[in-house]
Amino acid sequence: MKKLLLLGDEAIAQGAIDAGISGIYAYPGTPSTEIMEYVFGSREAQEKNIRTGWATNEKTAMEAALGMSYVGKRTLVCMKHVGLNVAADAFINSAITGANGGLVVVAADDPSMHSSQNEQDSRFYGKFAMIPTLEPSNQQEAYDMIRYGFIISEKFEIPILVRITTRLAHSRAGVERKEADTQNNIQLPGNPKQFILLPANARRQYRHLLDIQTDFQEDADTSNFNQYFDGPDKSLGIIVCGIAYNYLMENFPDRNIPYPILKIGQYPISRPKMKRLYEECDEILVLEDGYPVVEELINSFFELGKKIKGRLEGTIRRDGELNPNIVGKALGLEIPETRPIPDLVTSRPPKLCKGCPHIYSYNALNEALAEYAKGRVFSDIGCYTLGALEPFEAINTCVDMGASITMAKGASDAGFKPSVAVIGDSTFTHSGMTGLLDVVNDKAPITVVILDNGTVAMTGGQTSSATGKIEKICEALGVEQEHIIVLNPLPKNHEENMLTFKREIEYKGVSVIIPRRECIVTAAKRLRIEKKNKEL
């Protein structure tokens, strides 16, 4: 079969389609978004009637996927690393229920925080849930691992975690497909109590999870994704996880590495292979993107054993993404001096697009707040977070999805008035609604600004669960109708909008202002499609 040129994300999507999934669930988040988008755009997926569509958040996605697994179908659920925090309740408990139809969870980590607020390592979640975790080193492995993930998910009746990082997610290479599996038929679990986590059942299920840990271990021992390559020079042994393998190879152009290497792609780590490397080599170097998960595991607390070098020990810097040069330096190879960046080159940070509705919302809000001391705008995750930068400097916090409303409430509860929350439409339905209910129930006198551009803009314009529903949601949560105000953030409405902000900020109750205008990138895309359709 001809190779397809695919992003790591797309290889995962194609792997899942070929593995016979009946559905895929996800909330958009860089660098995981393209998995769902690929399945959306796949004619094959349509013909196979694979369920697609964005969920309201990662937790609802995870739970829907678990439901599909419960009835015996294969399903994929995808999210960025911090999304797994949102889905964590369902995710951790899915290890206790186990799976019926194959269930694979993809978490896309973002070391170096290219588009994220932390660089947490999802391998910890795999360990936490005590389930097998796969970590591909390249696009072909990403495809193959998804196929394998579904096989072992059904073999062990357990969800499987696949951990990727930005670099693999957003890098293209040739991928060879293998023959596709057909979809499962609906078949309920053999044990009718498997998914009822009442304490009595949960204890039994947890005991079972503990018992099958040895099976996971044995599978990792024999897995093709964990390979031991012997080398003549035993002064150093190298443990290399996931994509770090490519950076190691890059430093040896003839691909001839003198040291023994343990390449890890499947966790829990194979004990016999690890033991062999440790016993045969004088020192160990651990190359892993993200946290020092493996290094910590093999490093004895009192450092009584052999020297283990890595991110924990300090040979490699603790934060940020690995690259060939960092790995080369860790190997003690000489890295040639390079030309510096000329001093005149200045940074070019991302910014709100020209004509973006958020610009005019922030202009009006800033002016309305000018009479108060600064530091009172709690914001959230999305394009509008760029309002923290010059020239707006309009927001003072950005922590996690939905935190704007609840943090504004906490500040207000402490007597800090007025407090303002700024949140996007999709972030509001993702995790802001529950916070607004707290605000209403406590009558916290905050002003919530829901910037409604009708799309999930930051990740490229996906469908927003909030579209057409925001006022009704706010009203149903108990916000007074006359304090739910929609305005159009256009420059010509500046004065009027500013006065609305001012009035509602002064109001001693809960108010919601919804500046509503379509994202200009989405609008341009829509107009192009409409024009094209008209021509046809």
Binding site: L5, S115, R167, H170, S171, T338, T346, R348, P350, K351
Partner: protein, 195 residues
């Protein structure tokens, strides 16, 4: 054969189209390829780059090591300089000279051009002006691709074929415009090398 290429520009300037065309041509030529892109937050008017690696042997790293890039292809002059640490000694810098000014402290253009010209192997051209002359103002990226085409190690006709392939849904007119832009860029580079 191995070409390690840094593509540089500002979000929205079309460097991913350049990458897609070189990538398609390379795959058609039976070469191995890896191409790392930037998605997400930086696309909003920030600096963007892509690592494109083509080779007749399997490519290991998705990222090019510092000091090993055979060429930097940039659709914006200041952005071309941002990746100089990536360029191998003797590597080519091919860049647009038309600045994309979306920051208040954009440096003096003459100083930027001076830095570009201090790289021994460079080709600098105003691709926007050429594109406007061709009445294809959106094809500046194809002019730059054309100017880099003599150094890519790929057959020129394969690049044309890739354009036809990639823009096939956009209609004859767009395809022809892009091919014309590609050709004009290439001619500029060929004349430059001759002189």
């Amino acid at each position: 054969m191995k070409k390690d290429i840094i593509l540089a520009g500002v979000g929205g300037q079309g460097i991913l189209s350049i990458a897609a065309i070189i990538g398609t041509a390379a795959i058609d030529a039976g070469l191995y390829l890896k191409q790392a892109e930037v998605h997400g937050m930086s696309q909003r008017g920030g600096d963007v780059h892509s690592n494109l690696r083509i080779s007749d042997k399997e490519v290991a790293s998705d990222l090019i090591p510092e000091g090993k890039a055979d060429m930097i292809i940039s659709v914006e002059p200041m952005e071309s300089l941002r990746y100089l640490p990536m360029l191998a000694p003797g590597g080519w810098l091919i860049t647009n000279t038309k600045p994309y000014v979306n920051i208040p402290n954009y440096p003096d253009l003459d100083e930027i051009i001076k830095e570009i010209k201090s790289v021994p192997n460079h080709i600098a051209l105003d691709a926007n002006e050429i594109a406007i002359d061709l009445r294809q103002k959106r094809a500046a990226n194809m002019v730059i691709l054309g100017a880099s085409s003599p150094f890519l190690g790929l057959d020129y006709t394969q690049l044309e074929k890739a354009i036809i392939n990639i823009f096939k849904t956009k209609g004859e007119e767009i395809i022809e415009a892009n091919i014309k832009a590609l050709k004009t860029g290439r001619e500029f580079a060929e004349n430059y090398i001759k002189n």
